[in-house]
């Protein structure tokens, strides 16, 4: 009996037992699709986190008041640490050549009202125009406030997407006056949507000249932070050194103690990113491993059961004069066909499934997981499809025939 004939026998056996065949295919399909989709979900969330970190900006330094010893109750000394007088020194191109801009930041949440609509803006930021670019925001429409607006303390502001939607709905917010904690601010620009699926909404923000915010809302006290933009991502370390030197000189700090202020830089963020990526890689590995194992056991199970169930049939075939090799080839072809169909359908199911958002994560398929899942499942299907068959074919026909 030639190979072609054997293959026809195998295909006939597959189509003769539609329920059994489709259950086997389903088992493999689920195994493969589960692995690919789980990995894709993990990968998708890893990418989301990465994007979020990138959106913070990679060439910025954040100077915040107070060091690690904030619990000492030294609020009065640390709160005076950062103030507007530091800004000109930090912006000095001679002393700090690697600093593109230094923006003071006073921030807090403020309630805003427009024609009876209330919204509490999570971050109402008083700053310089340079802050917008440094914090990776872009203007969608209107214009940004200028240095002149800062000098003249004009009460103008640009608002984030969320604020625009909450306060104005479909109305064009440009040139409208919004009541912020009793003071009227004119909207002159709307920021573009800043991506990120974090716990806080980055678009729930409004920015106004620091002078106007201090004058009308917060008073001329201390700054919450100073945002430094380095000239390039590679210059962050130099910029940090320059900033540290200037601040130490201005604030009369000696030694390397970190009492009055703290600088967070992009390299720390990058480090965080690297750590996150590593954690996710580990998580992905574990998820892929477990789902491969579970899928593999499922495939093993259904293959063992369906083939062992056919021990009698193998006995009949042997009694009719089928050589062991012919029987093995038939079962191997059957297992190959079923595994391949199941595996490819599983890949298709995973590709379709990855088009949907799963638990608010957009899955991104990892190509290597497709090959891994497909290869592993087909290999398992082949082995556990042919191993019981070879065991049965090795029996004396009467033993196989007596099998119940």
């Amino acid at each position: 009996m030639n190979l072609f004939e054997t293959i026809r026998f195998a295909l006939r056996a597959i189509t003769a037992n539609k329920l059994r065949s489709s259950l086997t295919v389903l088992g493999i399909l689920i195994g493969v699709a589960a692995v690919i989709l789980l990995v894709a979900v993990g990968n998708g969330s890893a990418q989301a986190v990465q994007k979020q970190i990138e959106s913070l900006g990679t060439n910025t330094l954040t100077v915040t008041a107070g060091g690690g010893g904030g619990a000492r109750g030294a609020a009065s000394t640390t709160s005076t640490a950062l103030n507007m007088t530091l800004i000109p020194a930090l912006s000095d191109k001679d002393e700090a050549p690697h600093v593109r801009s230094a923006s003071p930041v006073v921030t807090g949440s403020q309630s805003a009202t427009y024609e009876g609509t209330d919204h509490t803006i999570a971050q109402f930021v008083g700053t310089y125009p340079g802050y917008v670019a440094a914090s990776n925001f872009k203007l969608a429409k209107g214009s940004l406030f200028t240095d002149e607006d800062v000098t003249d303390s004009r009460k103008v502001m640009v608002i984030g997407k969320t604020v625009a939607e909450e306060l104005f709905g479909t109305v064009d917010p440009l040139s409208k006056q919004v009541n912020v904690a009793g003071k009227l601010f004119t909207v002159i620009g709307v920021l573009a949507d800043k991506g990120g699926t974090g716990f806080t909404d980055p678009n729930d923000v409004a920015m106004a000249p620091v002078s106007a915010v201090q004058e009308s809302l917060t008073g001329y006290g201390s700054l919450n932070q100073i945002l430094i933009e380095a000239t390039a991502p590679g210059d962050v370390t130099e910029a940090q050194n320059e900033v540290t030197a200037i601040l130490n000189a201005k604030l009369n700090i000696t030694g390397s103690s970190t009492t009055a202020y703290r600088i967070q830089n992009a390299s720390q963020l990058l480090e965080t990113r690297a750590n996150t990526a590593e954690t996710f890689t580990l998580l992905l590995g574990a998820v892929a491993g477990i789902s491969l194992l579970v899928g593999g056991i499922g495939i093993t199970n259904i293959m063992m059961v369906t083939v062992t169930e056919r021990t009698r049939e193998i006995g009949i075939r042997k009694a009719l004069g089928a050589p062991k090799r012919t029987i093995l080839t038939q079962f191997l072809v059957e297992a190959t066909v079923l595994s391949l169909i199941g595996g490819l359908l599983g890949v298709a199911a995973a590709v379709i499934g990855s088009r949907f958002t799963i638990v608010s994560i957009q899955p991104v398929i990892v190509p290597s997981s497709v090959f891994l899942a497909l290869g592993f499942s087909v290999a398992i299907g082949l082995f556990f499809g042919s191993y019981p068959a070879s065991r049965a074919a090795g029996l004396r026909p009467i033993e196989a025939l007596r099998y119940e």
């Binding site: 009996m1 030639n2 049939e313 009949i316 075939r317 009694a319 009719l320 004069g321 050589p323």
Partner: protein, 228 residues
């Protein structure tokens, strides 16, 4: 000329130690070409065990079994498959057709293993089916056929390769009288055409149609008489 079957002091022992069961305790038997032998015995007498050894489905514990003068115990798996395929047609009590496969495909199966090509295979399978009177049921699957019809398909499958030896293990054990007569009529015709038949039964009227009757009790042959 060799006898078709030559069984010499065959013993078959199942299990070991305390659970040891001697199914055959030294059976010697020769069957000449063209004979029609019925083997009778109560259940447990070892008749099925003997039949399985004759059909090369099982191997004796000790003793020698020559089929057409060839010592079967010296054959490897491949040669045994060839012997089962070419020399022996086996009919089982439980029919043992392949499920969800048409009668024609079931009958074609031994020919396929013998390497006969498609068209010739179908022709011979159809011929075998019409010999047992089931030409019109060729496309039916086993579960669409009555017990008698299934057994006749099994008989057709046993004869399709034109084996010298037809072995039947209680072929009428699961059949009603009408179906029994149908199947036995087929065996009568086979015998008349010169095939060697060995048949197991415990119905005396089935055994009466054979030319020779052998009785087995507890693994021994106690009676061997020629009827015709």
């Amino acid at each position: 000329m060799h006898p078709v079957l030559d069984v010499q002091r065959v013993k078959k022992i199942y299990g070991q130690g305390e659970t040891e069961v001697q199914a055959l305790r030294g059976v010697s038997l020769t069957v000449e070409r063209g004979d029609y032998v019925a083997i009778m015995g109560s259940s447990g007498s070892g008749k099925s065990t003997l039949m399985n050894i004759l059909g090369c489905l099982d191997i004796p514990t000790t003793g020698k079994y020559l089929l057409d003068g060839v010592d079967v115990s010296r054959l490897n798996d491949r040669q045994l498959a060839l012997v089962r395929n070419r020399r022996i047609g086996f009919v089982f009590q439980a029919f043992n057709l392949i499920a969800r496969t048409s009668a024609l495909a079931n009958v074609e199966l031994p020919l396929a293993y013998a390497g006969v090509k498609g068209a010739e295979r179908r022709r011979r399978a159809n011929l075998a089916l019409s010999m047992v009177g089931l030409a019109d049921r060729a496309g039916h699957e086993p579960n669409q056929l009555s017990g008698g019809q299934q057994q006749r398909v099994a008989v057709a499958r046993a004869l399709v390769t034109a084996p010298a030896l037809v072995l039947a293990d209680e072929p009428t054990g699961n059949l009603d009288t009408q179906s029994t007569n149908d199947v036995l009529a087929v065996f009568d015709r086979l015998s008349a055409s010169g095939r060697t038949i060995v048949l197991i039964t415990h119905e005396p009227d089935v055994a009466e149609r054979a030319k020779r009757l052998i009785r087995l009790v507890d693994g021994h042959i106690v009676q061997d008489e020629r009827l015709k």
